[in-house]
């Protein structure tokens, strides 16, 4: 939260509609993402009940576990789900584009595409993670054997879930998160977790305002929950009798059809809402750095896909050093992500302007050919004086760059009330006169910031073998065990 987003919420209350928090889209949206709306059996950690899924909004597939307590039926469901997910992975990857040799001299490639999975909310993403955890250790031979697709599904879902921890990754997106990044509603964050209520504020149906649409979304009879938890009343009054009837019929297809119809009725409203969310996000123009971040996602995908056959182990838990490295990577990604979004979007840059780490204004004086002759050789050091109403909090000496052209770098010389003097040090060309247009002229609108994308230093961590005893000492290499494979799923 920030004062800026708090103000946006106030505006939303006042207007009875959501207000924008972004002027561009900050996440990638694939041409054909795989939307999954999963439901879980109440009271169980990862017992799947049903999932409505597909890449075509007009033609979703419905997978159902008619008796969610039956282990064989669960694995049959997991195998069916695996087919859809694995097909999606293969269908999305595109061609392998050559990148030339890497530092080690080996040829590198990157797929032109990557699979994207969308779920309605954070709960859906957490459920996929648990589903991945509960299926990836399964063995395909010997006792407890399952179809080969089942552990493959587990490994892919685990990978998707781990990538989701990385700020700016778009491989697995929870639509409520994506929407909240771009709009502020007039309700609390807790209430925003309800996809239908959130959409009600952003794009209410004709004749309703945001609060009315959100209130309607809170009634489980009119608007079934977006999962993975089901509505308890639905469980007690519809689902339980339907499952009992299926049990009693000995798996009769008509009883199964009734059960499927009941579950479909709970899922379809969320399916439609999710595509509505996709439409709203697609209508925003993508931010300039979205393609870069998606390229990092494609890198990660190419790497995992290439190593998949070898079976890179995914431990139950990270060792201490791996966990610290991972945390460092994530922090770094977060800083970079925040900074890049600010350069893409004036509304995000406004956050930094409000805290004084950036300022915008009009050039009042410009000395584009100024030379610094104090050293042995003269240096081109143009100065610009900028009139700004922003609350600047940058000390003399602070390095800054231009929000519109980050290559243009400079240093704060003095900063007083309403006016900042910047000496330009880079991005001017190689000669003693600046390239035409490089130095902002009098009357130009400019924005400078001390935020630099990728300013975070590299990680310094001990090698795994040097893990200090305070962190458990060197970890044993992770090897999946028999007990992992035999783990109950009951």
């Amino acid at each position: 939260m920030s004062v800026l987003s708090a103000l946006a919420r106030l505006e939303a209350v006042d207007a009875g509609r959501a207000r924008p928090l972004a002027t561009v889209r900050h996440c990638h949206l694939a041409d054909a993402p795989l939307l999954m709306v999963p439901l879980r059996l109440a009271g169980e950690a990862a017992a799947p009940l049903a999932v409505l899924l597909g890449t075509d909004r007009a033609d979703p597939a419905l997978l159902v576990v008619p008796q969610p307590r039956n282990r064989d039926l669960r694995f049959a469901f997991a195998a069916e789900l695996a087919k859809v997910v694995l097909e999606h992975v293969e269908a999305s990857r595109g061609a392998a584009e050559p990148l030339g040799p890497g530092r080690d001299g080996e040829e590198r490639v990157r797929y032109t595409g990557a699979p994207q999975i969308l779920v309605p909310n954070g709960g859906g993403a957490a459920f996929l993670r648990l589903l991945g955890r509960s299926t990836r250790f399964r063995r395909t031979e010997g006792p407890h054997a399952v179809e080969a697709a089942v552990p493959a599904l587990g490994r892919w879902l685990t990978w998707f879930a781990e990538r989701r921890d990385r700020p700016g990754s778009s491989l697995l997106l929870a639509l409520t998160d994506a929407l909240r990044l771009h709009w502020a509603t007039g309700q609390s964050a807790l209430e925003d977790a309800n996809l239908a209520a959130l959409l009600g504020w952003i794009d209410p149906p004709a004749g309703l305002d945001g609060p009315a649409a959100a209130a309607r979304a809170e009634d489980p009879l009119r608007c079934p929950p977006a999962g993975p938890a089901t509505d308890p009343t639905f469980d007690n009054e519809v689902l339980a009798p339907a499952i009992a009837a299926w049990d009693a019929s000995g798996g009769d297809p008509r009883a199964e059809a009734r059960l499927r119809a009941a579950l479909e009725s709970q899922l379809v409203p969320t399916w439609d809402a999710a595509w509505h969310a996709v439409d709203l996000l697609r209508a925003l123009p993508p931010g300039a750095s979205v393609a870069d971040r998606w390229e990092r996602d494609r890198d990660a995908f190419t790497l995992f896909h290439a190593g998949f056959a070898e079976g890179v182990p995914q431990a139950r838990r990270d060792s201490a050093v791996a966990a610290a490295r991972r945390l460092h990577r994530l922090e770094r990604a977060q800083e970079e992500y925040d900074a890049r979004r600010a350069f893409d979007d004036p509304l995000v840059m406004a956050e930094y302007r409000l805290t004084g780490q950036a300022f915008a204004g009009t050039v009042a004086e410009s000395d584009p050919t100024r030379l610094d002759e104090s050293g042995k050789r003269p240096k081109l050091r143009p100065r610009v004086r900028i009139a700004t109403p922003d609350p600047v909090r940058l000390e003399p000496g602070a390095t800054v760059c231009s929000a519109d052209r980050p290559a243009l770098k400079g240093r704060i010389v003095e900063s007083g009330a309403g006016d900042v003097l910047v000496e330009l040090t880079g991005g001017l060309g190689r000669k003693l006169v600046p390239e035409p247009g490089a130095v902002p002229a009098e009357g130009d609108r400019v924005c400078f910031t001390s935020v630099v994308p990728g300013s975070f230093g590299p990680a310094r961590f001990p090698e795994s073998a040097d893990t200090p005893w305070t962190h458990g000492g060197p970890p044993a290499e992770y090897v999946p065990t028999d007990s992992d494979a035999a783990e109950e799923w009951s």
Binding site: M1, S2, V3, L4, S5, A6, L7, A8, R9, L10, E11, V13, D14, R19, P20, T23, L41, A42, G43, E44, A45, A46, L130, R133, S134, G186, Q187, S188, A189, L190, E191, P211, P220, T230, D231, P232, T233, D235, N236, L239, A240, R316, R317, D345, P346, L347, M349, A350, R353, L354, A360, P389, D390, P391, E487, E488, W489, S490
Partner: protein
């Protein structure tokens, strides 16, 4: 009982307008510790008013239902852990936690035919006294505990086991949410810890009444949950000292409800009639979005808070960001410069005005 409660007790009974006080259980007592600053809740709870009935009558019922699948799962897991005199539980405490559990007496204190709650409580008390004297290994199942809530005894029938080892009692709480790779959902663990703290407190008070040191009831409880995706139980020790502290503070507050009542109309009553809405509104609330998961009055209070434009409905974070400005209208007036800020809000006002200008600029004047 303190004098305070003796004074307020008749008032509290009148507030219920003749309805019997609602029974508290560990869940409702634990819920008392949520939003302790709310006077409305304090009064309703102290009087034992049925908040669910009140909210329904006002047209703001909350769907607090439970799925039969969740109930069935919970019951099955508990039955399994407790089967054969808690055989699985004992194995678990022995093996996983390395406790030297030798010989253990198992006493099921579950209800006997036609026995009143008072009689059951007396039986629990007797057995507990004996166990405290002998300090022998003991498992008590279904003890009937009692805790005074604002002067009224609340009987607690925990699905819980009190377990004595080496002269110390531990509370064992059985929950059916899964612990996967040593991690469970934090909200569920927190809720379980809050409930267990209620049992620890009730047990401590009983131990003290019996003339023993209340510290013989450990602040460390054992949470027994299914491990990973199986039905295999696992036990995790949880220190509930923080929850105990909050609970004790809040219970002490409830006995001071008299101070709140003193400012209320003398004929106030929460009878389910047409005056109910006004009666509820007469007691100040402090709505926050978290109320939705912890208090039956939430939708009523939210509606009221929204109607008066309270910034609290947007969440505590938003309210803090606004420097404590209470209403949406006031904050927007400061942001738009249409209201002169009082001196103490000058800084907040300047920040809001800048924020409004920055949003306007970035959105091309559309804001």
């Amino acid at each position: 009982m303190t004098e305070n409660t003796a004074d307020t007790a008749p008032d509290l009974d009148r507030l219920r307008a003749g309805a019997p006080p609602r029974n508290h259980d560990a869940r409702t007592i634990a819920a008392l510790t949520a939003n302790p600053g709310c006077a409305r809740r304090g009064v309703l709870d102290a009087a034992g008013v049925d908040k669910d009935a009140v909210a329904r009558h006002l047209g703001f019922g909350t769907p607090f239902g439970q799925s039969q699948f969740a109930l069935a799962r919970g019951n099955a897991f508990e039955a399994q852990v407790k089967a054969d005199g808690c055989a699985e539980l004992l194995t678990l405490l022995r093996d996983r936690l390395g406790l030297a559990v030798a010989e253990v007496f198992y006493d099921d204190l579950a209800v006997e035919d036609g026995e009143s709650r008072e009689a059951r409580h007396a039986r629990t008390r007797r057995l507990l006294a004996r166990a405290l004297d002998s300090a022998e290994g003991t498992l008590f199942d279904h003890p009937m505990l009692r805790l005074d809530i604002a002067g009224h005894p609340a009987y607690l029938e925990p699905d819980v086991i009190a377990f004595q080892l080496g002269g110390r009692f531990h509370v064992v709480e059985i929950k059916s949410f899964a612990v996967v790779d040593g991690q469970a959902e934090p909200e569920q663990v927190a809720a379980a810890a809050r409930q267990a703290a209620v049992y620890v407190l009730a047990l401590r008070r009983l131990v003290a009444e019996l003339g023993h040191d209340p510290a013989r009831v450990a602040h460390e409880i054992f949470l027994v949950c299914p491990e990973d995706f199986s039905n295999r139980p696992s036990a995790t020790p949880v220190d509930v000292r923080p929850q105990l502290a909050v609970l004790e503070r809040q219970l002490a507050r409830l006995t001071r409800v008299r101070d709140i009542l003193a400012d209320l109309p003398p004929d106030l009553s929460f009878a389910l009639d047409e005056g109910l809405g006004d009666a509820v509104r007469a007691v100040g609330a402090r709505y926050a979005p978290e109320c939705v998961s912890g208090c039956e009055m939430a939708y009523f209070c939210r509606d009221e808070a929204r109607a008066c434009g309270a910034t609290g409905v947007l969440g505590r974070g938003v309210r803090d960001d606004l420097g404590g400005v209470d209403t949406v209208g006031a904050a927007l007036a400061l942001a738009r410069g249409t209201a002169e800020p009082p001196a103490e809000l000058a800084e907040t006002a300047a920040l809001l005005r800048t924020a409004a200008r920055l949003r306007r600029e970035a959105l091309g004047g559309a804001a």
